[in-house]
Symmetry: C2
Subunit: 327 residues, 2 copies
Amino acid sequence: MGGDSGPGVVVPGALDAAREMGLSLILVGDETMLRGELSRSDTSGLDVEVIHTTQVAEMTDKPSDVLRRKKDSSIQVACRLVKEGRADGVVSAGHSGASVACGMFVIGRVKGVLRPAFAGVLPTVKKPMVLLDVGANVDSKPEHLFQFGILGEVLARDVLGFAQPRVGLLSIGEEEGKGNSLVKETFDRLKASSLRFVGNVEGRDVFTGDVDVVVCDGFVGNVALKLSEGLASSMAKVLKRELMSSWLGKIGTFLAKGRLRSFARFVDYAEYGGAPLLGLAGIVIVCHGASNPKAISSAVKMAGRFVESGANDHIKKALDKHKGLGG
Amino acid sequence: MGGDSGPGVVVPGALDAAREMGLSLILVGDETMLRGELSRSDTSGLDVEVIHTTQVAEMTDKPSDVLRRKKDSSIQVACRLVKEGRADGVVSAGHSGASVACGMFVIGRVKGVLRPAFAGVLPTVKKPMVLLDVGANVDSKPEHLFQFGILGEVLARDVLGFAQPRVGLLSIGEEEGKGNSLVKETFDRLKASSLRFVGNVEGRDVFTGDVDVVVCDGFVGNVALKLSEGLASSMAKVLKRELMSSWLGKIGTFLAKGRLRSFARFVDYAEYGGAPLLGLAGIVIVCHGASNPKAISSAVKMAGRFVESGANDHIKKALDKHKGLGG
């Protein structure tokens, strides 16, 4: 039921992913609306179930209120399906705070995980990279950041397919010993681990493609993510304004439009679809409210890859292996 | 003596600013090199003094070592000139850590300032904005962040010429009460002040031009600044790669090149030149090591405007007025 356009975008996106990966879908929400959407699509050969719910998490609801008072909201029911083993993961374009709350308290955490973290999958010059935490937590401790490194490494390996992900720590200087007190203590833990730790990385290194996982506090990561979105969209606006301000610019743009479109894809969040909340006994992927069907499809496929690769088992094993470092 | 290209870039840049604003220059460094550079330029009508120094802060030097052991380094001598009242400010493209250390301990602070802060002047869709602190401090306290608001407001007013600068607090949600504990406590102080406080702003609001001053901790600000530089340069690289990958793209680029150049200016740090270290009893502006003469000229003009507007008096008055809030 989530997203600015509701089931009209979510249903076709989900069907597309199910078709491509052979996934089974459970659509949770208002049955009449969902069946209506389904009737407009070709669902032959697909395994699609609809579960009716009567409540919706509104943007004005507090996450804790959704959790306590909206037991029959689509997000809470979807999370309960995971808890009960009837589903493996949840994709939502709705209230992100409610998705986090229901993920944390209805599904619960993988044993050993201290704090689930939101991972941002961002484009770089070469290939995607993982930045985490991008906002599930504020005021994190070193043991939390260390665990974010483990969660991100598994995502990069299992979902993005990198053989030996390079893990960096976001700081304000590359040398060991640079940064704030949180970063300095986290550095020592990451250095002592078996992760492929490449040390501190700076803001400018995030988009070069030379590091696969960048670990940071949720406050810093959320600022970084939204700043990137804001800057990319401002740059696109300025580029368009400049190109359209002269006839030569317009003709040039017309000729180069195929190439400009490839450029636009670089800054298109829909390529990766959503931010996975890692560390849950299942998976919750939160999509942008303005998601289009392609973004939803990407997010559902990400959930599919996460589950099929056995990522949560890998997280459990990595946490066991690093017990002294991660809390 | 600073910058990747030394006096060959710094001297012509400084002369250009002196000519434009009628400033008096003191060039501090190796006299032979500086006189050599001056002989290549037309200095008629300009007031230029050269002060010879025998030492240089090397990139491998620790800031504290420059301070203690290189008393005759160009940066330390330049700061001493300010302390002694023989100069009003310092512009350097050299060792930024050494510039900060000499600024703090040789020049000293404006009375009442707890922590000097680096201000980044960034382009937006509409006009420049001030982000601070971008890295002079880590592990800041609420009273520090509050003072950053005052420092940034004066810069925006006196140097950028905004009549009533809007001050925002960088956080991860717009509503009051969102953010980490540092942000929440700073919010209350800014709200109680006479600054034109617009509340929390998110990363995506930084580049819209709807806020003039954004306050944050030096760790977050430094990450944000370098991330922006990194993303802008990655986007420019991808744009170029895409445009050059087809004949139509190349022809289009040729036709639109004037417009593309205007776009490039949007991401050109040289427009603003350098980062002022605010809160000193004088002013130190630190330029990028890769600065070109235009960037140096912009930085020297910024120093000139800072001094001519009486910015430090305005900082003193604002701190007096808000004594209970800022430390």
